[in-house]
């Protein structure tokens, strides 16, 4: 986009510029300006809580089947109804939180830990490093990412570990690019030169100077990726890859209920799907809020 961004008709300039409002002030501003962000933060806390203590607080055993109460609509005993095997959907949905969030968290963490250093190195050293890393990122992005994840899990085997691995791989390019862009921009900055001249090793510069600067946009990416990773894992499970029944996972739960939708038993798929959506929504909102926080110019 090369249309220039100039301010609209000039307003009279204030005489003495007021001190820049602090980071905390800005944070408070963003949180209060958009109440939805506050809601998202609360929801996140709720999800984390469920992930941690879920299995202990559910009313029924998520794996206990009871054919006599199969496919019951939501009721006082079974808030979300029961599935084809008579299992309590509410309990299964709650317990699944741990697995889904766990997969997403692990995937994003590893992507971050591997992708950031790669990207920083590529942006900082340039040359061969840059070429190889960029080529790697571009090749990954040459695939529709979900398809690549499918291919990886299909090839390596149908386990949770491989879902994490596949998600890590397809998310790498995001972190590589973010880190590379930041390092590239600052590579020749005056203060980096100064650090180099005063004897700092390259590693130190990367770790101490460049990395913190790349953190803000990376954090936005992390939040958005969490939502994406959950969707990914659920999608893979939905088509039969990854988590295997009877282990409760939101995607699998939806898959289990898919066949009943057309005969009217909507609750089997609905509640896990709604929970899934809520979780992803939360992470997306948070990602937006983080982006507003760190770079208001890029608000979309």
């Amino acid at each position: 986009m090369s249309a220039s961004l100039t301010p609209s008709p000039p307003a009279a300039a204030p005489a003495a510029p007021t001190a820049q409002p602090g980071w905390a002030h800005h944070a408070r501003h963003v949180l209060t300006e958009n109440p939805v962000t506050g809601v998202a933060a609360v929801l996140l806390a709720l999800f984390v809580l469920l992930a941690l203590v879920g299995p202990w607080i559910v009313p029924h055993d998520p794996l206990a089947s009871n054919a006599s109460v199969a496919l019951q609509p939501p009721s006082a005993q079974h808030w979300f109804g029961t599935d084809a095997l008579g299992r309590d959907i509410f309990s299964r949905v709650i317990v699944a939180t741990r697995l889904d969030l766990g997969i997403a968290f692990a995937s994003v963490a590893f992507s971050f830990l591997i992708g950031m250093p790669l990207g920083l190195a590529a942006g900082y050293f340039g040359g061969w490093w840059d070429r190889i890393v960029t080529r790697l990122a571009d090749t990954i992005m040459a695939f529709p990412l979900f398809v690549l994840a499918m291919g990886i899990v299909a090839a390596l085997g149908n386990t949770v570990g491989n879902i994490v691995l596949a998600t890590v791989i397809i998310n790498l390019p995001f972190y590589i690019r973010v880190a590379r862009a930041e390092a590239n921009v600052r590579r020749n900055a005056g203060w980096i030169e100064a650090a180099r001249l005063s004897g700092n090793s390259n590693l130190r510069i990367l770790a101490v100077h460049l990395f913190p600067n790349a953190l803000p946009p990376a954090m936005v990416q992390v939040s958005l990726n969490m939502g994406w990773a959950i969707l990914n894992a659920a999608g893979l499970s939905f088509i039969g890859l990854g988590v295997r029944p009877p282990e409760p996972e939101w995607g699998i739960l939806v898959a289990e209920g898919a066949q009943f939708i057309v005969s009217g038993e909507w609750w089997v798929s609905f509640f896990p799907g709604a929970m899934l959506m809520l979780a992803v929504f939360t992470f997306n909102l948070l990602g937006d809020a983080l982006r507003d926080l760190f770079d208001p110019r890029r608000r979309t």
Partner: protein, 351 residues
């Protein structure tokens, strides 16, 4: 000056911006009169409100702007009260505006000829329109009028293929395509090199003369204004502080701010050491406690009266065309040192 009513008669225009950090009183009781065919220079520091005034006249102010008083009579119509439809009709046809940064002021992905044709098509029934020729031919003629060489070829060019000076000429062609009666030129030469500046100014002056078009030439460059303008209006912090024919202004600036501006503007023989910047900064126009004369805090002649009572824009000596808004204009007795600051009686003026 002339017996005719002025083409543009701005009376007491006040405008504010509502922003998150407060309300900015950008314009306060501004008067401006432009006669037909006259070139008036609107001079002042950045932030004095000159561009804001220009935008307000054309009705293209920012969303946050609100006119809080005054009238802007253009051929009998109050521009500030007119609806958007009327204004859009006037824009381009009766009054036009050109801006600084010509290259970004033109649509980057549309050939310049088509951009001119868009304006011509919009005001198809403009007086003097030569309807016998096609739009394209008229666009080519518009480019020729602004002395662009090889207009038949240039008409298909994109702005990024042209130099800054040429882009400015295209913008002038665009603005003048329908022969408006008034042109507002907002810093049209800023950013251009000196030779191109002179060429563009000459072009504007020539066209204005040929077409009997009035021009409001907004600039922070007093010297540039002096070269081409018939009259100069000096603005400071949203107020008009002085207005006079060019020669009279330079012979005897009456407002302390004007004098300061002059001594900070280099001329051909000025030594660097002789340049004296205007002290202080523009006051923060969001303040509720602004002094009545907004220059008071930067002025060595200021008294208590200056802070509490706003000096009206009035003729200070025999010449009715030279007006100034100051309680202690230059060329009068020095400011009394008494703290109370009794007003200087007119009888003590030197003349």
């Amino acid at each position: 000056m002339t017996a005719q009513p002025p083409l543009l008669d701005v009376q007491g225009l006040s405008l504010e911006f509502r922003t998150r950090s407060g309300t900015v009183q950008a314009l306060d009781g501004v008067d401006l009169r432009v006669a037909r065919g006259e070139m008036v220079g609107l001079v002042g520091e950045s932030g004095s409100g000159k561009s804001v005034l220009g935008y307000a006249l054309l009705g293209i102010s920012d969303r946050a702007a609100a006119v809080t008083g005054g009238r802007a009579l253009f051929g009998g119509l109050d521009l500030l009260q007119a609806d958007e439809r009327t204004l859009a009709d006037l824009r381009g046809r009766e009054m036009s505006m050109i801006f600084q940064s010509p290259r970004t002021a033109l649509n980057p992905i549309r050939p310049v000829g088509l951009q001119i044709e868009d304006v011509l098509r919009r005001h198809a029934a403009a007086p003097g329109a030569d309807l016998s020729r096609s739009l394209r031919q008229r666009a080519v003629q518009a480019l020729r009028d602004v002395a662009i060489a090889d207009p038949e070829r240039r008409v298909d060019a994109y702005p990024f293929e042209m130099s800054g000076g040429m882009c400015q000429r295209v913008m002038i062609a665009l603005a003048l395509a329908c022969r408006p009666r008034l042109l507002v030129a907002d810093e049209p030469t800023t950013g251009l090199d000196v030779t191109t500046q002179a060429a563009v100014m000459d072009l504007i002056a020539t066209l204005a003369r040929e077409r009997d078009m009035a021009t409001v030439f907004i600039t922070h460059d007093l010297a540039l204004a002096a070269d081409h303008c018939d009259r100069i209006v000096v603005m400071h912090a949203g107020h008009v502080v002085e207005a006079a024919p060019t020669r009279a202004l330079f012979q005897q600036p009456r407002h302390p701010y004007t004098a300061r501006l002059m001594s900070s503007t280099p001329g051909a023989e000025t030594a660097l050491a002789d340049l004296a910047p205007v002290p202080g900064n523009l006051p923060d126009l969001r303040r509720a406690d602004l002094p009545a004369c907004r220059f008071a805090e930067r002025c060595e002649r200021a008294t208590e009266r200056c802070r509490t009572a706003r000096p009206p824009l009035q003729a200070v000596d025999a010449d009715p065309t030279h007006t100034v808004a100051c309680w202690h204009p230059l060329g009068t007795a020095a400011v009394p040192t008494a703290a109370a600051g009794t007003p200087v009686a007119l009888e003590t003026l030197d003349g």
